[in-house]
Amino acid sequence: MELAQHTFCLIDAEQRWIGEVEIDHITHNLIFGAFVPGPDFPAVAEIFQKFEAAVNVQALSVVDELDAEIATLGLRLCLPDKTQCVNVYDIQIWHDGTITCRPGDSSAMLGNGLQKFSANGQPMEMAHLKSH
C-alpha cells in the first residue's frame, strides 16, 4: 500500500476510529503527518497526553511504559474504505495536532529495532557498563 500523500483512518484493534491522519512525508521509515481526532479518540487520549507529559519532563522510563501501553492498542492506518491497512508502531500524537509513526509491528521497537534509536544511527556504545 502506498502511504505517501494520502489520508488514512487510524483504527485500533477494537475497530475504534481513533482519528484521521493526513500524511505529509515519510523519512527513514518514519511517517510525519497531521492528526484529526476521531469519535473514539477520547477513549485513548489520556495515554497520549501522559506520553507527551513524560517526554516533556524527560521521564524516559515512564515513556517506555507508555510506549508499551500504546503498542497494546494495535493501531493501524487504513484507507477510508478500510480495504487496506498497515500496522504502525512508535505512534506519537502531540497536542498541536501532529503525529509520527512507523509502518510495521511494535516488536521491531522492542526487539531488534533498538538500534534504530541510537544516536546518529550508529550502534550504541555500551562500554560504560562493566562486563560481567
Binding site: 513524560a54 517526554v55 524527560q58 524516559l60 522510563s61 498541536d96 521497537m109 534509536f117 546518529n120 556504545e125
Partner: protein, 128 residues
C-alpha cells in the same frame, strides 16, 4: 526492562542530562517522584551532541526537545557519587543507554541544597 545496580556503571562513565545540568533541570518531576526508585533520566556514553540528537530523533515532533535540546549537561559517575547521588542502568526500548540518577535516601534528597552540589558537577555544552 529491569533496573540495574550502581556497581554496573564504572566510575569514569560519562553521562548526559539533556536540557542542561542546572538545578532547575535536575529536579524530580511529579511523574518521577513516584518511580521506584525515584530518579531522573540521563544518557550514558557518547558526546553531548549525540545525546541531544538521540532526544530529537526519538521525539521528532516534540516542541520541547526541538527547542531546548541544544544544551546538555555532562558529568561522570564518580563526580555525582561525590555529592551523595547514585546512578543505575535503566535501559529502555528507545534508549538502550538510559540510566536513572537516584539518591539513596529517596525523593526528599532531591532538595535545593543537594541539587546545588549536584549541578556543580555538570559541565554544560550549548550547541550553536
Amino acid at each position: 526492562m529491569a533496573i540495574g545496580k550502581p556497581e554496573e556503571i564504572r566510575p569514569d562513565a560519562v553521562m548526559h542530562r539533556v536540557g542542561g545540568g542546572t538545578v532547575d533541570n535536575l529536579r524530580l518531576s511529579a511523574i518521577e517522584e513516584v518511580l521506584t526508585p525515584p530518579g531522573i533520566s540521563v544518557l550514558l556514553g557518547g558526546t553531548p551532541q549525540a545525546a541531544a540528537a538521540q532526544m530529537r530523533q526519538a521525539f521528532p515532533r516534540s516542541q520541547k526537545w526541538h527547542a531546548t535540546a541544544y544544551t546538555v549537561g555532562t558529568t561522570t559517575a564518580a563526580a555525582l557519587r561525590q555529592t551523595g547521588f547514585e546512578i543505575v542502568p535503566d535501559p529502555t526500548a528507545r534508549f538502550p543507554n538510559h540510566a536513572r540518577l537516584v539518591h539513596p535516601d529517596g525523593a526528599a534528597s532531591f532538595n535545593a541544597a543537594n541539587l546545588a552540589k549536584l549541578a556543580q558537577m555538570f559541565e554544560n555544552t550549548t550547541e550553536d
